[in-house]
């Protein structure tokens, strides 16, 4: 019998009060963005933000709780932009969105920094055993795509170094039930024909670094079929995350029917980029519909997730989306 788990890949919008206090403390310009060695006042502000995120998730009744990544000014490029071996360049567009991040220019060897692990330790204290922790990281393929290499000199070496770096970060994590690896670039800018295995090898390097269940969350549309097959077979993911909101849903169904699936699946059911809040019954129907399209006897776990991060939304709608996911999982129970 398939277990249904309501969860999110994190990257939440800052609460409105924190948007103000943090912009007052930090400023509005490029040079004011988070560097990783922020002042005590800023650390304390983020601690309050983190506590609010944990409360939001526990209140909603999610089955996994994330740290919320309030500090990630540069979205999923964050683990690099705060790294000592990285200099930040200009402000560049974040995928096809009206959002921007600092271009991380890698200029030296990437070693584990422990930045994300420290966030997760604080989140673990806040959660206090009330729910399992889910960690969030960019996947190595997307992170390499978002960054600029000025050190390794070779695309394959750079991707492998990013994967090793992320694996090192994961090894320092506190106990976590699930790890979400965010891989939107697999959809928006897939590896060239024949290069698929290099990407899946890089992902496997990270998935091997944890005993937790790993969800490789892809989004902004459907995966190319060949790449999809490689991911299922080679990435070492417990669950592939599929976007059922953006792009052509039929392509995704076709991929699963044609090439099978990982033992578990994460379904991006709730629109992370639209304020319209889905009815729990509608979300539940979509889960059942998708599961019925697939010939297998059932998945170990179906994760009910938003298709993307949630920082695109105003704070009130982000909370409503958490509630919708949790309520949908209850409808299915």
């Amino acid at each position: 019998m398939t277990e249904r788990v309501a969860a999110t890949p994190g990257l939440y919008p800052l609460p409105d009060w924190a948007k103000e206090t943090l912009s007052d403390l930090k400023g509005h310009q490029k040079g004011d963005l988070l560097s990783g060695d922020e002042s005590k006042a800023i650390v304390e502000e983020y601690a309050e933000v983190r506590a609010e995120y944990v409360d939001d998730q526990l209140d909603a009744g999610l089955d996994r709780v994330v740290e919320g990544q309030g500090r990630w000014d540069d979205m999923i490029a964050h683990p690099l932009t705060v790294h000592d071996s990285v200099e930040t360049g200009g402000i560049v567009r974040y995928y096809d969105n009206n959002n921007f991040y600092r271009d991380p220019r890698v200029v030296d060897d990437l070693d584990a920094s422990g930045d994300v692990a420290r966030e997760l330790e604080r989140a673990t204290d806040l959660i206090d055993g009330e729910a399992p922790l889910a960690a969030t990281l960019p996947g190595p393929y997307s992170l390499a795509e978002l960054a600029t290499d000025e050190h390794y000199g070779d695309e394959a070496a750079f991707q492998a170094a990013i994967a090793e770096f992320l694996a090192g970060e994961v090894e320092a994590f506190p106990a976590h039930e699930t790890l979400f690896l965010l891989e939107p670039s697999l959809v928006t800018n897939p590896p060239a024909d024949g290069e698929e295995s290099a990407a899946t090898d890089a992902i496997a390097t990270v998935t091997d670094a944890t005993d937790a269940d790993v969800v490789v969350q892809t989004f902004y549309g459907a995966l190319d079929e060949k790449l999809y097959a490689h991911l299922v077979d080679e990435a070492g993911a417990d669950a592939l995350g599929l976007d059922l909101v953006a792009g052509d849903r039929d392509d995704t169904v076709y991929n699963v029917q044609e090439f099978g699936a990982t033992d578990s699946l994460a379904l991006g059911l709730v629109d992370g980029q639209n304020t319209l809040v889905e009815e729990p019954e509608t979300v539940a129907e979509r889960v059942e519909w998708f599961e019925s399209q697939v010939p297998a006897e059932g998945f170990d776990t179906t994760y009910l997730t938003p298709n993307t991060e949630l920082f695109y939304l105003p704070a009130n709608k982000y909370r409503a989306k958490l509630n919708a996911l949790s309520a949908a999982a209850e409808v299915l129970d």
């Binding site: 919008p13 800052l14 409105d16 948007k19 943090l22 912009s23 930090k26 400023g27 509005h28 310009q29 490029k30 004011d32 963005l33 000014d73 402000i91 567009r93 974040y94 096809d96 009206n98 959002n99 921007f100 991040y101 980029q273 639209n274 304020t275 319209l276 920082f311 695109y312 939304l313 105003p314 704070a315 009130n316 709608k317």
Partner: protein
């Protein structure tokens, strides 16, 4: 297809214009707000302050008068009020259109946010959006007034669409509302309207949607009304030559920012609407010298003859210090008048405009 720009251009030539050649000078719209106006905006929200809505309206009137006169003093042929009454280019209109709701700010980058609205039901026209603003500016100005309006594509795609099956359908409904507003502005005497579509720069593949929206906007609008389209920051090759089919009189571009590298894009096939060329950078805080701006103006002559060339800054100047914005505008007008004189005298060969 292009409207008839030659039918409406001459009305903007000042009676005392010094040269035979006439390169129409204008601005894109926004201008730095005086600091006291920002304070006034905050003060009206302060429950402990006696400063009320009536006081704020007076402050807005004062600011509009001030900036309109500042534009006149800079010598512009057509002026705006610097958008002193507007907060943000989508928010301002969403606030006035039935069907939008606001849920709170969303992140753009770092700690820069935007109150991105949601369309929650069919959009409808309620009260006029800009007629009061236009009438006020017109009353205080000796020069013709241009009215910038955020276009329906940007109003649609820079919002959350909860209500329409597709955002394209929302855009067309919004275009009908913009058409209604343009009709009212024309009735009030407006003869120069600029539609701003910055969103097109990020999704150039949607140029046909913008084209269809423009058809709706200009429906029934007489050819003596000049309709411009402003699109900033983008790869123009992805919307050119398609824009030659747009029903506009003038296409306003930001090229100074990229050192005019994209000028050749517009030379083949022949550019059909009038070209409104940005010749000062809206994002550098140095005032370009007159000589440099004159060189920039010559770049425009590679695309169109003088009688089809309009000159403006790259984009709205609101992010600059005010004295820099003024300095750029003043130098721009000086440069234009000198270029006109050099065209008259033959010192500039309009067929080979970069030759000395």
């Amino acid at each position: 297809m292009v409207r008839n720009p030659s039918a409406n251009r001459e009305q903007f030539r000042p009676h005392d214009h010094p040269n035979d050649a006439f390169l129409l000078t204008t601005v894109v719209g926004s201008y730095p707000k005086p600091k006291w106006l920002n304070r006034a905006d905050e003060l009206v929200d302060d429950p402990d302050s006696k400063f009320d809505e009536g006081d704020l309206e007076e402050a807005h009137d004062d600011a509009c008068r001030l900036i309109t006169h500042e534009h006149e003093r800079a010598g512009l042929d057509t002026v705006v009020d610097g958008e002193m009454r507007r907060n943000e280019m989508v928010e301002f209109f969403a606030d006035r259109i039935d069907g939008y709701e606001f849920n709170g700010p969303v992140k753009v980058w770092g700690h820069n946010y935007f109150d991105k609205p949601s369309v929650v039901e069919e959009v409808e026209y309620d009260e006029p959006w800009l007629v009061d603003e236009f009438e006020f500016t017109s009353d205080v100005s000796e020069r013709p007034v241009k009215v910038p309006i955020t276009g329906p594509y940007t109003l649609g795609f820079w919002a959350f669409n909860e209500a329409y099956p597709s955002t394209e359908e929302l855009v067309y409904d919004l275009a009908d509302l913009v058409n209604e507003e343009v009709e009212k502005l024309v009735e009030a005497g407006a003869r120069y309207i600029q539609i701003d579509e910055p969103a097109l720069a990020t999704t150039p593949e949607d140029h046909a949607i913008v084209g269809e929206a423009l058809e709706r906007i200009v429906s029934g609008i007489d050819e003596e009304v000049r309709i411009g389209l402003h699109v900033c920051y983008g790869d123009y090759s992805r919307i050119y030559p398609e824009i030659n089919d747009y029903p506009i009189d003038e296409f306003d571009v930001e090229l100074c920012n990229g050192d005019f590298e994209q000028i050749p894009t517009f030379t083949d096939p022949e550019f059909e609407p009038d070209l409104a060329l940005g010749v000062v950078d809206a994002h550098t805080a140095e005032i370009e010298p007159v000589e440099e701006i004159k060189e920039n103006i010559r770049q425009g002559l590679r695309v169109v003859p003088p009688e089809k060339l309009t000159i403006s800054p790259d984009c709205g100047l609101k992010l600059l210090p005010r004295e820099i914005a003024y300095g750029k505008t003043e130098n721009m007008v000086t440069a234009v008048r000198e270029v006109e004189a050099e065209i008259d005298s033959g010192a500039i060969d309009v067929d080979n405009p970069l030759d000395d």
